[in-house]
Amino acid sequence: MKLHLKIWRQKDKNTQGKLVDYWLEDVNPHMSFLEMLDTLNEKLVLSDEMPVEFDHDCREGICGQCGVMINGLAHGPLKNTTTCQLHLREFKDGETIVIEPFRSKAFPVKKDLKVDRAAFDRIIASGGFVSVNTGQAPEANSIPINHETAESAFDSAACIGCGACVATCKNGSAALFTSAKISHMAKLPQGKEEREHRVLNMVHQMDNEDFGHCSNTEACEVECPQSISVLNIAQMNYEYNRAKVLKK
């Protein structure tokens, strides 16, 4: 199949970028989207042009490293899929595909399709952990947790931190990402000990990183590759309000 690509090219953080046209002929419809970009890059290298830089790692849909806006949709037209799990059979022969980086004030573009998502790391560092003594692994069943709670916490923990929620949100809000970690911990007995500090610190850090407010449009859940529920945001709000009320 033939493809017409319009790809965002930007030299570095401080340079203005623009969309550049590329044409690919004879691409296999069973290629993944990233394999298609690899093919393009091979062509560019052979013609002494700079390859298009994009983030990727596992290419199995579980690491959260890849992620671009494809035709104005985070991770492309398929819902609940990462960019690496998207295949060219989802596009028509001869189609024009516009590829842009995930954008938000908190995600500065580093180069081409690569964005700096370190803001997420700083949010996690501000409270996305439980403080436990190191040493031998504790007995697994010493803290009772029922099956439903464990599953629910695991659903929240499934967030891969790709940033599609922020890119999809009109406000560039990181509420879904931050809340997934907060409610993951708040659901488990181990996380309950530090719940007040955690939510206040993480929300504080989220605000410091220049993410916007959540307006509950719920677009994040629709585009999230892991279908992280917006009810996590509701739980974050509950935890925040509770922590504010109980704060000494």
Binding site: V98, S215, L231
Partner: protein, 218 residues
């Protein structure tokens, strides 16, 4: 102030306004009574409200809620505009409802409507000179009925109530989410309740001027 605290302020002022709308609508239902009874009863009701100290205190909370709700909406929207990204090709709209993304626009329509609405009735009742009815109360009823006989005002009213319906449809559910209700069952119930509430309020308010207009058009 943290983002979630700002949202809580939007939520509490919004919910107070939601509560006020119910009381306001219930009071307005008196306009459906036969003309003579409606005039005396509606005027007596208005007189009671304007003279009661408790209602006066509540009215200050109401004014403060409207102002704070609009001000914080402005602050939040400005911050959101800065934080959100923009794309050359943007199809993100598929993932959410248009009215949830345009609460600011709907709110602005409502604010403009409120200015007209306050000028027409609130200002005239408080500071204007109104004739008295048979019981010696200011005749707000006649002012309301004559205003509703002007077609353009009825159109503005109905457009504003459509905007109100959509604003409430997202706003009520969003406020409860900001409060932190995360139990799936209650979230579902609240969504249904919110739909019913928004329909009831917007239809209720919109029917009154249309009813008065056609009643007097005969």
């Amino acid at each position: 102030m943290q983002s979630l605290t700002r949202k809580i302020l939007m939520c509490l002022t919004g919910l107070f306004l939601c509560f006020f709308l119910i009381i306001h609508l219930l009071g307005n239902l008196q306009l459906f009574l036969p003309a003579k009874t409606a005039q005396l009863q509606f005027n007596a009701y208005s007189h009671f409200l304007s003279g009661n100290l408790f209602i006066k205190m509540v009215s200050y909370v109401l004014y403060a809620s409207i102002i704070l709700h609009a001000l914080y909406a402005l602050v939040i929207t400005m911050k959101n505009k800065q934080s959100g990204g923009s794309y050359k090709t943007d199809n993100r709209g598929r993932a959410s409802k248009w009215y949830s993304r345009n609460m600011g626009m709907l709110g602005t329509v409502l604010l403009v409507f409120l200015i007209i609405h306050f000028k027409n009735f609130w200002y005239e009742y408080k500071f204007g000179v109104l004739p008295m009815d048979a019981n010696g109360n200011k005749d707000l009823y006649t002012l309301v009925v004559t205003t509703y006989q002007e077609g353009w005002y009825v159109v503005i009213y109905v457009i504003a109530m459509i905007a109100l319906g959509y604003h409430l449809l997202h706003g009520f559910f969003s406020a409860i989410r900001t409060l932190g209700v995360f139990h799936p069952k209650f979230v579902r119930w609240i969504r249904y309740f919110g739909i019913g509430y928004s329909l009831m309020i917007s239809l209720g308010f919109a029917i009154i001027p249309v009813y008065v207009y056609f009643l007097n058009a005969k």
